[in-house]
Symmetry: C2
């Protein structure tokens, strides 16, 4: 049984969201030729995609060819829409989650699903998380590395994953035994990286490290001991910088150990126990993968193909 | 002979820079008790420091105790002042560089020096780089991971190290055989990281990776084949994310290979040749250090204690 934790899916079609909600910024698909589509935001091409993004039959062919037994389906992070009006993001989340649930229902031996939730409103988010798991049969949700209710202005209400308002989400997930898959989005520094795809290469690994550090130092794993969390792309920059992070914990406890006195390294694997949280294997490098297995234990590194 | 590449130094005293230049934002030292001082910016304590920052005698005692033969001296990155008026940053650079040169002159067997240059004005920067090496006997300069002439607003004139305007600096350094030590500062995302010292733990490794990627993809190593460059903190997040970076080079050459068609991994060590650039060893972790030596070759990993 080979389970691929990290695969994204979209419906083939959905309503014009800019029109439905009355303001711009949402993604639409332009099926400009057979088998291919452009994800558009306004007049801008966000990304070219092929039919394996929306067609379960094509996915299953590729899984068979790659020897993958099951895919864990989650939406494309640009769909999170944490910047939108909360009720609109809830509406969009429901649409995406219903679609994933339907794909899973039609192929229950090949797919399981993770939903998306409108984290800019934690009560709506907890409500949709409950619906995803209790009614739709999804296994949990995919979330971003932080929650910015503004569109990229990073104001005071931009929240990292240690923010106490999110506790209601963690509490709900813990009660439901729902998995949390943290995927980088809305990358730090992107306004300074116009070239070379650097928001994806530099910003994403930094975002994931930010999310891990925020949850560790904010004491989330202490307050919710049964919460199950996985971080994308092998934990981003975290595995290589744990030495720096632990060193900082020793030399500046006045800054790091203010909300949680646990040494960050104690969340990693020991000879006898695996790590407190999961990562996927998506590092594209043998040496990096070896480090992952060493730091997290093989039971906490999940296959991920993206 | 053990040479410590990464050590910072300040003069014990300097003029009131806010008063001298007529606007605020510069660092001053508050010697509030013997052996200790506070680095102040306005009324804010930036950092507490001890006399090993400014007293060569204390540094030599510590070097002897740690078995270090020589220290490479460079200023503290908060002194870069790329946000200041260029002529003021030049004036401050000259003051700091003259001080480092004087410390080196008095202890030529224990210290060598790197200057700082006002990179917000590349001509003044090249001029001061020339003075540092030709007149002061310094071995090169320490620079930041990007150049933002604004104070942290990251506008359109914020430049990464691939910016062609910097070629005059690289050209001057290459001609003088001057070393470039790239140290993270003015960290991306810092406005979103008010807690847990995260600009230092997440932002700094991301900045260093940004600098490496910018110089690689911008073709700096191709245009200046003899330029000698070292990156702080073991190259930040870069060594763990080279797999992701190389993968992106293959799948999106339309985004990555626009200014330089060289595979990023070809700048790393092979069985026969060391890497194209240097890193220091400052990763605080055995496994990470092993990766560094494997990726860069032992001749390209310099001892660094910070």
């Amino acid at each position: 049984m080979k389970i691929d934790l990290h695969t994204h899916i979209l419906p083939r079609d959905w309503p014009d969201l800019d029109a439905k909600y009355g303001y711009g910024g949402f993604v639409r698909l332009d099926h400009y030729k057979p088998c291919c589509a452009r994800m558009m935001i306004g007049d801008r091409v966000f990304r070219e995609i092929t039919d394996n993004v929306w067609d379960p039959k094509r996915r299953i062919e590729e899984m068979d060819s790659a020897g993958v037994s099951m895919q864990v389906l989650s939406t494309v992070p640009v769909m999170f829409s944490y910047w939108a009006r909360p009720t609109d993001a809830l509406d969009l989340s429901r649409l995406l989650n219903d679609h994933i649930a339907e794909v899973v229902r039609q192929n229950p031996n090949r797919f399981v699903g993770l939903g998306t939730i409108p984290l800019q409103d934690v009560d709506l988010a907890a409500q949709e998380l409950e619906r995803c798991v209790s009614q739709l049969g999804l296994r949990g949700v995919e979330i971003g590395t932080h929650v910015d209710p503004n569109e990229h202005c990073h104001g005071a209400d931009c929240r990292n994953l240690d923010h106490r308002s999110l506790d209601v989400v963690w509490k709900t997930a813990e009660r439901l035994n729902a998995a949390i898959f943290v995927h980088p989005w809305d990358m730090m520094g992107k306004e300074r990286m116009p070239k070379y795809w650097l928001p994806w290469l530099v910003g994403m690994p930094a975002e994931t490290c930010l999310a891990i550090c925020s949850m560790m130092f904010g004491g989330v794993f202490e307050r919710f001991p049964k919460l199950r969390v996985a971080f994308a792309h092998g934990g981003g920059a975290f595995p290589f910088t744990i030495g720096r992070i632990e060193h900082a914990f020793y030399v500046r406890p006045d800054l790091l150990a203010v909300d949680n006195k646990t040494n960050p390294r104690s969340y990693l694997a020991t000879d006898k126990t695996p790590a407190r949280f999961y990562v996927d294997s998506l590092v594209h490098d043998t040496e990096a993968l070896k480090i992952l297995v060493k730091l997290f234990g093989s039971h906490r590194v999940a296959l991920g193909s993206d």
